[in-house]
């Protein structure tokens, strides 16, 4: 009887195609594994790549042999747009740089402009800026942590994070009138004061938000799958991270204690009592833990700020910088003229240049500005924290597994808007 395991006539391709069936003539069990390199495009619309990033990956088996990162062409011309509007009209554009922590971009920009003019804003405005920034820091980290959990297979943490975000957004909407792009600051102070009873509401919201953060923490931090996929993956050494220009929680995860709020306190951060968490290894798990811990510290800061906040004006009483109150505009000629000049010509920023940085959710948000003495900026350069961090991804991930790319890309928290400007 014929051997049933052997085909009577083995298939012999007439002209083997080297790309697909190079080993077709060999018996199936003895065939080599495909050793050819494979090219994979991740993005521009992959569920795990944020924004329009395209990662061109060259795979050898499951290892990444070569990787090139293309940021994508979302470029909106942020600088060019700013150069053609007045200083105040730049504010809505800055909101859209990092759209999950709009207030921090907003206030960072204002801080640089005020430094260029040489202004000291009222104390109450400084407190409001601290509160707004820290609220949005929690908001940003929640997005990052929730998305990391979800992309590694845990949907529940993401839902908790979104619920907490929703609560924060409600408070932000009460404060600014908008949920996402707040446009809240003004040169010389704030747009408006805290609403009636808002502080008590924020305290209650924070209680609930922290409960949810602890829930996320409990679900992820000791989860076997999550820990296995994030621990010891995406490691960067402290020296490399500094060389690439990393800042923020990603740099602190490598063990470098650098936080602008402590190094060069601005606004009233020097009156706040908070700790800066520092990691050890610089892997994905450390970066995740930094964010969890920073949310708890931000919670502390907001509670202190709400307790300390003094009464007083929220914007400078200088009609060359801030719009005059409406009764003055309607009743006096000086008011009308100031209003007209501010709206039509903008704030006259004296000629000069400045580089100023604040600690945004992802790191140092730097602004380099040149003014030629008119109401429009001559040049506005933004140093987005995500840009240098993203530039190091090929270095981190080369030679590692393709699966490690996902948690690495998540924990560096690249935001398309600011990287692509």
């Amino acid at each position: 009887m014929a051997d049933t395991h052997k085909p009577v006539s083995p298939p012999t391709p007439e002209a083997p195609n080297p790309d697909t069936d190079a080993y077709a003539h060999e018996a199936e069990l003895e065939a080599h594994l495909q050793t050819k390199r494979m090219y994979v495009n991740m993005g521009p619309s992959h569920p795990a790549t944020h924004g329009t990033v395209r990662l061109k990956v060259e795979l050898e088996g499951e290892n990444i042999a070569e990787i090139d990162c293309e940021i994508g062409f979302l470029h909106r011309g942020f600088q060019k747009s700013c150069e053609n509007v007045t200083w105040t009209q730049c504010l809505p554009y800055t909101d859209r740089l990092n759209y999950v922590s709009a207030m921090m971009n907003n206030f960072g920009f204002l801080n640089a402009v005020e430094k260029l003019i040489g202004l000291e804003i009222p104390e109450r405005a400084q407190y409001i800026r601290v509160i707004g920034s820290e609220l949005h820091r929690i908001h940003d980290h929640l997005t990052c942590v929730g998305a990391t959990g979800m992309e590694l297979g845990g949907f529940a943490p993401f839902l908790f994070a979104v619920e907490a975000r929703e609560l924060i957004m409600d408070r932000v909407a009460e404060l600014t009138g908008a949920r996402l792009t707040t446009n809240f600051g003004r040169i010389g102070g704030m747009n408006r004061d805290l609403p009636e009873g808002w502080s008590e509401k924020v305290i209650k919201t924070l209680d609930k938000v922290m409960e949810l953060v602890n829930e996320v923490d409990g679900l992820l931090s000791r989860n076997r799958i999550f820990v296995d996929r994030t621990k010891d993956t995406g490691i960067i050494t402290a020296a490399d991270a500094i060389d690439y220009g990393w800042t923020g929680p990603c740099l602190r995860a490598c063990g470098i204690d650098y936080d602008i709020r402590k190094a060069k306190p601005y606004w009233v951060y020097d009156r706040m009592d908070f700790d800066v968490p520092v990691g050890e290894k610089g892997d994905n798990y450390d970066r995740y833990l930094m964010r969890i811990e920073e949310m708890k510290q931000s919670d502390r800061i907001i509670r202190q700020a709400l307790k300390q906040i003094p009464a007083g004006p929220i914007i400078l009483d200088d009609w060359r910088i801030a719009l005059p109150p409406k009764p003055e505009v309607y009743g006096t000629i000086e008011g009308v003229i100031s209003h007209f000049k501010l709206v039509m010509e903008g704030v006259q920023v004296p000629a000069g240049e400045v580089y100023d940085a604040t600690e945004a959710a992802n790191g140092e948000l730097g602004w380099y500005m040149v003014s030629d003495g008119s109401g429009r900026p001559y040049k506005v350069h933004v140093r987005a924290p995500g840009y240098p961090i993203l530039s190091a991804v090929p270095h981190i991930i080369k030679g590692k597994l393709l699966a490690d790319l996902i948690p690495t890309f998540d924990t560096i928290n690249m935001i398309g808007g600011e990287v692509e400007q």
């Binding site: 940021i71 580089y355 400007q421």
Partner: protein
């Protein structure tokens, strides 16, 4: 900054303080890699922050036309250092400092992309935010605000307001 001047007296063209108290040094282009390496290795300015350029076309003082600015930070002393290099329009080329700071890689590509300033010795000088087929360098002041170069033809939509302001329209 005093130590840089002491070490390389021929490299520093000018020094000044801006109104916010930031110290600046204007460096001659050919000495840039040397000064950067000295700052990094000897003076502990290790954190590379950013690079950008200023097109001084409409400013009173506009010769040479471009200024490339470098921001480097010292983590041990919490100090920024600001360097400036002036580049002419006729020969927009600078030595790259990528061998010194790897973080300069993408920033130099950014400056090439938007201002058309070349960096000799850069390993991979390509456009970074715009596409390869793009003509010109859009952050130059003589690049018109409303110039459009779509890769795919745009649908004809009339009476749509595009872009900020109406001044500077070509």
């Amino acid at each position: 900054m005093d130590r840089v001047t002491a070490q390389f007296p021929e490299a520093v063209a000018e020094r000044y303080l801006d109104r916010t108290g930031g110290a600046w040094a204007v460096i001659h282009a050919e000495h840039l890699p040397k000064v950067a390496a000295f700052l990094k290795d000897e003076l502990d300015f290790k954190l590379f922050t950013s690079i950008d350029a200023v097109d001084r076309l409409h400013l009173a003082e506009n010769d040479p036309r471009f200024e490339v600015v470098y921001f480097i930070y010292s983590l041990s002393r919490h100090e920024h250092v600001r360097l400036k290099v002036r580049v002419s329009e006729a020969r927009p080329e600078l030595p790259s400092i990528t061998p010194v700071f790897r973080g300069a890689d993408w920033w130099e590509r950014f400056v090439w992309d938007f201002y058309g300033i070349r960096f000799s010795g850069h390993p991979d000088l390509r456009r970074v935010l715009l596409y390869e087929e793009f003509q010109g360098h859009p952050l130059r002041k003589d690049y018109a605000l409303r110039d459009r170069q779509p890769l795919i033809p745009e649908r004809p939509i009339k009476d749509i307001f595009r872009g900020p302001g109406t001044s500077g329209v070509s």
